[in-house]
């Protein structure tokens, strides 16, 4: 199965705007026609609460065609760091570098580890589905905007660094090759009394090979998140000024990264037309809402805006989510095509 034969939908927005509810309802609506997986990447999970089920790090069956995961962040960061420290142990075994486990706890607090571990998890899910073709649609319920934007920017930033490092490494390997050609022998280095021949070929150099591996991973994730035929980004806002400002900034940032935001969901709209009998506080609230909706019209001219009214009851549980998903029919129908 090629990666283009499945779709990826990201739900983004400020904390508390209803991303998880929208993601869950969309996934439930999609699952009527497509095999769907919904993944919560938010460290403060509530996907399980919305479905009314206990979820874990492994896909749990919600309905016939719908599976859900709540990513275990502790486990994810430990796994990410374990693969790194295992490699250090393998290579430095001869140097008797012992008790590396002691440092794992320190490394988990390194800046950027959480973002990279989240990206790693996303990559793992996408790679696995590229191979297995198990799901037609993968829905990501993301952490609040700031963290999500850092995660989304990571492949682009990493691509710049990896490219520069590869060029520098090529210059190093070039010099080594010249020296070898002139002297007729490999450059040798002594590390802790042990002599090593220094590689001069790209195929032999472990650093260059690791850079190539990273480049492939970055290209893979970029080819998915930047392909509008594969990925759809949905911004969720409330009809309030601050979430809209934040969504606008997110839109600009994502555009710079080459990612298209196609939908904006305005969740919890009062939508009351008759205001004469309402208390003063509510009239003020409605007036602010109208201003906010006007802002949405101004800022998101190129996006499809979907308005969802404020419901009397919280949309929790499969029945209520199914009703809620009707508001997302435009998004669901477009994603099915």
């Amino acid at each position: 199965m090629s990666r283009r034969s499945f779709k990826v939908v990201f739900f983004m927005g400020k904390g508390g705007v209803g991303k998880t509810t929208c993601a869950a309802a969309f996934a439930l609506g999609m699952s009527i026609r497509k095999r769907t997986l919904v993944v919560s990447l938010d460290p403060a999970h509530n996907l399980g609460d919305v479905f009314g089920m206990r979820l874990s790090d492994e896909p749990k069956r919600i309905t016939d065609n719908l599976y859900a995961i709540e990513v275990d962040f502790e486990k994810m960061i430990s796994k990410h760091l374990k693969s790194l420290t295992d490699k250090v142990k393998d290579i430095y075994g001869y140097l008797r570098v012992l008790n590396l486990d002691r440092y794992i706890d320190v490394l988990r607090h390194s800046p950027g580890i959480e973002e990279y571990a989240t990206l790693d998890k996303m990559m793992e899910i996408l790679k696995s589905n590229t191979k297995s073709g198990k799901y037609d649609v993968i829905v990501f319920d993301t952490p609040p905007t700031g963290l999500t934007l850092r995660i989304m920017a990571l492949p682009s930033i990493s691509a710049i660094w990896v490219e520069k490092l590869m060029k520098l490494r090529e210059a190093i390997l070039d010099r080594r090759r010249i020296i070898e050609e002139v002297t007729g022998e490999k450059i040798k280095a002594v590390v802790k009394g042990k002599e090593f021949e220094m590689p001069s070929d790209k195929e032999e150099d472990p650093i260059y090979k690791e850079l190539i591996r990273m480049k492939k991973e970055i290209d893979f994730i970029n080819s998915i998140i930047k392909d509008p035929k594969v990925s759809t980004i949905v911004l969720v806002v409330n009809p309030e000024v601050l979430p809209i400002f934040e969504a606008k900034r997110a839109l600009e940032f994502l555009s710079k990264l080459g990612m298209n935001v196609r939908y904006v969901i305005v969740n919890k709209v009062f939508a009351i037309s008759e205001t004469t009998s309402l208390p003063k506080e509510l009239i003020t609230k409605l007036s602010r809402e109208r201003e906010a909706l006007q802002l949405i019209n101004n800022y998101f001219k190129d996006q499809v805006v979907i308005k969802i009214p404020l419901l009397y009851e919280e949309p929790k549980g499969l029945d209520k989510l199914t009703t809620f998903s009707r508001y997302l029919s435009k998004l669901i129908n477009d994603a099915v095509v």
Binding site: V88, S110, E115, S158, K164
Partner: protein, 94 residues
């Protein structure tokens, strides 16, 4: 007999001179290589000394392969005060 010894000696001298010239010709490239390796280490592991660095995972993933580069950086940093003398020696400035 004398001719044979002379021929052997001459061959030795020429080989020695050849090696010397070869060593001399790559001397600059050796220094350039060492500095490039040093720059590579500084870029990858610069965060440890407060320099801007790549995303942490890139550094951590390359770290296991960089034993030699770290040794070079350490030796370069320990001789930093003497670098001018080394450069002068390299370019035969007396």
């Amino acid at each position: 007999m004398k001719g044979k010894i002379l021929k052997k000696t001459l061959r030795k001298v020429l080989s020695l001179a050849g090696n010397l010239l070869r060593a001399k010709s790559v001397e600059y490239i050796y220094v350039e290589l060492r500095e490039l390796e040093n720059v590579f280490t500084l870029i990858v592991l610069g965060s440890f000394i407060g320099l801007p660095s790549p995303p942490t995972t890139i550094s951590l993933r390359l770290l296991p392969y960089m034993a030699r580069e770290i040794i070079i950086s350490t030796s370069v940093s320990s001789r930093l005060s003497d670098m001018l003398a080394e450069m002068a020696g390299l370019f035969e400035v007396t």
